[in-house]
């Protein structure tokens, strides 16, 4: 049996993209999980739609190559974790 420590960083970033990127970069070697509340979301692209000729918008949040992003993906812009 190995006893390990799981390090978690948690902060409400108030939809601030710069702060979110800074947190991801600064904690890449020191934390196991970063929990964010009120993450920033911006339009990534529009995907073909059955109902809208301009396509359905896909919104997402900043990512970082050293982290795996987990977010509830849907077409809505509003998302708070």
């Amino acid at each position: 049996m190995i006893k390990k420590t799981l390090k978690i960083f948690s902060q409400n970033v108030r939809k601030n993209k710069t702060l979110m990127n800074t947190i991801l970069e600064n904690n890449k070697n020191s934390m196991d999980i970063i929990l964010v509340q009120e993450p920033p979301k911006s339009l990534i692209r529009c995907v073909p739609s059955h109902t809208d000729p301009t396509g359905d918008p896909i919104y997402s949040t900043p990512n970082h190559p050293d982290w795996t992003l987990f977010i509830r993906q849907d077409l809505a812009q509003e998302n708070y974790t």
Binding site: I2, S10, N16, I33, Q37, R72, N79, T81
Partner: protein, 209 residues
């Protein structure tokens, strides 16, 4: 350690349930943003399923209460729901090692508040050991929490045999399977029983090779 987001357990825009396996148990970490109407809190209380082995539930709960903020002289109407939820997950409110506000007020006439909380399993060595880091909050008015929890991980040793690539053994193995498969009589698969016989023979070919 491999984490997954379990939307099949909780599918709500304000709640993330992260799962990881420690070799012994499935463990849960829950991230919550509960707005002024406490949508996430009520959703969790209505829909919470059996999440044994939740290690930590943390986030912005938007609940001010004298229980965790001595500068706030009132109790919240939501405290019972929040504590009931935590209890159902086997968690207790974990006091930080350096108590203080977790949100600095935008308006200087307002008071700073404690609304970012951590609920941790009281048997975990990380209980009441998390810390607030106002020096890391940068432009945000919210103070980051750093939580360290212990997990028990079982080391599973696996061993297996393999045939070296391009070796004589690999050629013999491939030839044995090929020859036996070509010799397999598949001309009379007219019933379920016949098909079963052929499938069993095919399995034997691989076992004997």
């Amino acid at each position: 350690m491999r984490f997954t987001l379990r939307l099949d357990i909780i599918n709500h825009r304000d709640v993330n349930v992260l799962v990881f396996y420690s070799g012994q148990h499935i463990n849960y970490v829950i991230n919550v943003y509960s707005d002024d109407n406490q949508n996430a809190l009520y959703f969790l209380n209505r829909n919470i399923v059996d999440l044994n082995n939740t290690i930590v539930m943390t986030g912005d709960f938007n609940i001010r209460d004298n229980d965790w903020d001595p500068n706030y002289p009132h109790h919240s109407v939501h405290i019972e729901d929040l504590l009931t939820l935590a209890e159902s997950l086997g968690l207790d409110l974990s006091p930080p090692t350096n108590p203080g506000p977790t949100r600095f007020a935008d308006n200087p006439r307002d008071t700073n508040s404690v609304i970012d909380l951590a609920f941790i399993n009281p048997n975990n060595s990380g209980f009441s050991q998390h810390s607030l880091h106002p020096e890391l909050r940068r432009p945000s008015d919210y103070v980051p929490l750093i939580i360290e929890v212990s997990i028990n991980e079982t080391n599973i040793n696996n061993s297996f045999w393999s045939i070296s690539k391009d070796s004589e053994e690999e050629k013999n193995f491939t030839k044995a399977i090929t020859d036996s498969t070509l010799a397999l009589d598949t001309s009379n698969i007219t019933s379920k029983e016949n098909l079963e016989v052929v499938v069993q023979r095919l399995a034997s070919i691989f076992n004997e090779a």
